[in-house]
Amino acid sequence: MNTKTRLGIPFFDDVFGGVYRGWQTLCHGRAGSGKSIFGMHFINQALVEGDRALLLSENRVADTLKMSERFGMPFAAAMASDQLTLLEYGAFITDKVASSHIMLPPQAFDELQDMIELQSIRRVVLDTVLPWVAIQPVSHLEDHIYSFIHALDRIGVTVLMTLPKPVSHDALILKNHLEDLCSVSINLDHVNQSERCLSVIKYIGQANNLSRPIACAIQDGHGFVRASPDTSELTLASASPPENRSSREVS
């Protein structure tokens, strides 16, 4: 079993000791549940540890920098010192990665691999993972996702991937294939503007602590913080359960 590295969210790390180094963590949830901010914590932890990191996002770099400032994460300084690479999907992936020539690796993956190896990047956030894995026909999904995850394994980088909540049957199949191959799967849900609910759906090697969702909130200057005990009851009672929670096998 791989060693662990802190995810960057103290209340999660205190319970689970972080996530597995060199493996993939999946974070999924509805729009507005905080997946991008969650990914920013993961990047910020790399900066704290002195590691190089890469964030590939659908958001514009300027917007990511503004958000990082809001949550007290020094992304601009890290970019200036080459510790952090911020990329926009729109600029990075110019070929249509997932829909054509799925027999071949997309050129963008070659470039991503080169960037990670040449710059000694240790952590990567793919916010979202969809452009790499959303292919048709769905019958090819399993092989495609298997190949993607194993290629990331070979690079040896620790990856956090975000995924929107599936709203179609095909999207649910995609999420389930990803979840099967990721070592950790986390669902985020939002109760209201500031309150969130974090549920660990899968954590390889750790079956305990998975049953209770963690009530949390997003605060300026901090990002994700654990909700105060007074509000936890209310939060957990009103949060909707993550999809398929009971049917997922936890090994």
């Binding site: 020539h101 799925i102 027999m103 071949l104 690796p105 997309p106 993956f109 070659d110 691999q113 399993e142 092989d143 495609h144 298997y146 190949s147 993607f148 194993h150 290629a151 070979r154």
Partner: protein, 119 residues
């Protein structure tokens, strides 16, 4: 510089790998069928073989893997496939083949394998 045999029925895969191999300074040789592949593998100049597990004329994969391993006789064999089953992995390992590359993303790691094999 080494000679690398590529056995795959998909021309797009053969062309992609041949281009990569040539760019890295090695000599690619290609075969589109299992039978043609085994014939070319008889040439001792082929130092490494990259072979698809499922070819239209290949025997069941367990047999095909054994044939490849026996004909390669000590030379490095890299298998390419979709997601290999546990049984195929075990069969390959039993035949002394330890490198599987899944299509499409892991094909890029041919670069690393060639560097290791020919350095």
């Amino acid at each position: 510089m080494g000679t690398v045999l590529i056995i795959d029925d998909e021309s797009v895969i053969r062309d992609y790998l041949a281009t990569l191999i040539r760019r890295l300074g090695h000599e690619p040789v290609t075969a589109a069928t299992a039978m043609a592949g085994l014939e070319k593998l008889a040439d001792p100049d082929c130092q490494l073989v990259i072979a698809d597990i499922f070819l239209p004329d290949s025997p069941p994969p367990e047999i095909w893997i054994q044939q490849l391993a026996q004909t390669a006789a000590g030379r490095m064999v890299v298998l390419i496939s979709g997601a290999p089953s546990q049984e195929l992995n075990e069969c390959a390992t039993a035949s002394g083949i330890t490198t599987f590359l899944s299509k499409p993303f892991e094909l890029t790691f041919i670069r690393r394998i060639l560097q290791t094999a020919f350095n």
